[in-house]
């Protein structure tokens, strides 16, 4: 291997690592707040990329139907309790119907009635975010909220089920064909021997921006602090009026947004299939494990390491690329179990 190849592999590793880092942060966030290991994270990556591709092909993304159906389910679940609450319940009922029924229908009207395939890319991206991101809180409401107090293992089993259901729906919505979207930027830069594509810079730049934005959100905003408070002390947070449900929905909203943006960022680099998300999410998970599912900076660094390891092992032993990456989890777990004090889960 000469320097040029090493630089090329390094660039590749950093670009992929940046995406894994975003997903790792989302996984740590969701686990800290809700104790859910969010395996369906990867499906948001695929849904984001494929919804954008079908919008650009002039098709109606199937995720829109899912948004509408889950909206109706959530309305059916929440409406009865609100109807018993009188005047205040009435206002909340109107909000519920507005977001869960009117909003998906309005989006459906925009996509079916307009011609989003001819819109500028930025508007298309915003439309995809508007369609796919609300699925996060909807999934929290339907699958996790009823069992929010269940042990971690049960929540994990439900995550596997949600993951399988979403992969199946992905196949139904988008078919078995993969899609690739046009690059955000065709530019490329020469830095010494290295050619850097505009899209790589987009991925790294957008990831860095999102990481900084998340940091500011958690450190400075009241809602960010409320999420941290829930992660630190659930009972204390409840007594401040920060409900477990509220925190759960907000963390799923953020995780979904991160997943969809990651999908949109990688769609021009790799061909995304309906089941591609799982493997990408799993690599983010390895990063999150390096951080013990608790530390944000260590998780991000771990994910970057996963990206680099993956790109270099694809050069040396491409057949064993995934094996090498996932084997990383074993020494990490051994090291963590030896160095950290083990705390039994409180029940």
């Amino acid at each position: 291997m000469d320097l040029q190849i090493a630089l090329l592999l390094g660039q590749d590793g950093i670009v992929n690592g940046a995406i894994y880092a975003l997903l790792a942060l989302a996984l740590v966030l969701v686990f800290a707040v809700t104790r859910v290991i969010f395996i369906p994270q990867g499906e948001f990556v695929a849904y984001g990329a494929l919804s954008l591709a079908s919008l650009q092909a002039g098709l109606l993304p199937g995720t829109l139907w899912l948004l509408l159906v889950l909206g109706l389910v959530v309305t059916a679940l929440d409406a009865p309790a609100l109807m018993r609450q009188g005047r205040q319940g009435g206002r909340r009922l109107a909000t519920l119907v507005g977001w869960q029924c009117a909003y998906p229908l309005a989006l459906l009207g925009v996509v079916a009635g307009g011609t989003p395939q001819s819109w500028p890319l930025l508007l298309q991206v915003l439309l995809v975010l508007a369609i796919v991101v609300p699925l996060g809180p909807q999934i929290y409401r339907t699958a996790y909220q009823p069992i929010a107090e269940a042990p971690v293992l049960i929540l994990l089993i439900v995550s596997v089920a949600v993951h399988l259901a979403l992969v199946g729906l992905g196949l139904l919505f988008f078919g078995a064909e993969g899609s690739r979207t046009p690059a955000f930027s065709e530019a490329s830069f020469e830095i010494g021997d290295l050619t850097v594509s505009g899209q790589s810079l987009w991925v790294v730049g957008a990831s860095l921006f999102l990481i900084v934005a998340l940091y500011v959100f958690f450190e400075k905003s009241l809602y960010g602090k409320a999420l941290r408070a829930t992660a630190i002390n659930r009972n204390g947070a409840r007594l401040m009026g920060i409900s477990t449900t509220f925190a759960g929905k907000l963390s799923f909203l953020l995780a979904a947004a991160i997943g969809v943006l990651s999908g949109i960022l990688i769609a021009p680099i790799t061909t995304v299939y309906y089941d591609t998300g799982f493997l990408i999410g799993l690599k983010g998970f390895v990063g999150a494990i390096v951080g013990g599912l608790a530390s944000y900076p260590v998780a991000a660094a771990g994910a970057l390491l996963v990206g680099l390891l993956e790109s270099f092992s694809s050069f040396w032993a491409s057949a064993f690329k995934e094996v090498i990456v996932f084997t990383l989890i074993i020494p990490v777990l051994v090291w963590r179990s030896l160095t950290t004090h083990h705390v039994e889960e409180e029940e």
Binding site: K225, A229, N233, G236, L239, G241, I242
Partner: protein, 249 residues
Amino acid sequence: MSDHELEPILEVKDLCVSYGKVEALHHVSIKVRPGEIVTVIGPNGAGKTTLLSAIMGVLPFSRGEVAYQGEAQVHVDVERMVARGMTLVPEKRELFGEMSVEDNLLLGAFMRRRLGFRDEAETLDKVFGIFPRLKERRGQMAGTLSGGERQMLAVGRALMAQPKILMLDEPSLGLAPLIVREIFRVIGDLRKTGVAILLVEQNARAALQVSDYGYVLETGEVALEGPSDALEDDPKVVEAYLGLGGKKH
């Protein structure tokens, strides 16, 4: 200065709470009027913490009702109670250890912010006025505070919600005598702000001195109730909770 003409802000009627087959509270009824300090004293395991948890909605109750501001409820929802001006300082304090003192306090005003109030900066100044120690430590992590400071922070955080009724669960537990005196001085001072206080304590003498009305809870039942000065002189209370009469004051 308890004015018994006023409608109670909180009225608990006939409350029963069970843990499995064991009944922890047995037909308990208490009343708190606006601006009044009411105390519930009793030995360990009498059900005092259970009572507060049930009123707050942290724990479901099997029979009876909790009427808050005239509205009777059979199911109490924590968030709704917080939104309507009830706060609980739990026995374990439940602080956010890895967050700064100031962030802990600001989160106390979370529900007010959600309801559209934007006055947390002024409330923060008021709380710093009551507990100057918290102002000195505003940037420090809550987990590194001393026991007394932690209790001050827990009370301060509850006050950030500008409650109409403040429920304190064993505020003197595990604190040095000097700090206990400080905490009870603050509870007495809070009377001027008009907030009603429901105080659960094992330190019966201090609790009866600061309060207007008292209940004695024993094995899940109200054994005795009355104005606090009367309870202080009641021979049964003196014998069981205040020790030798000569030690009084």
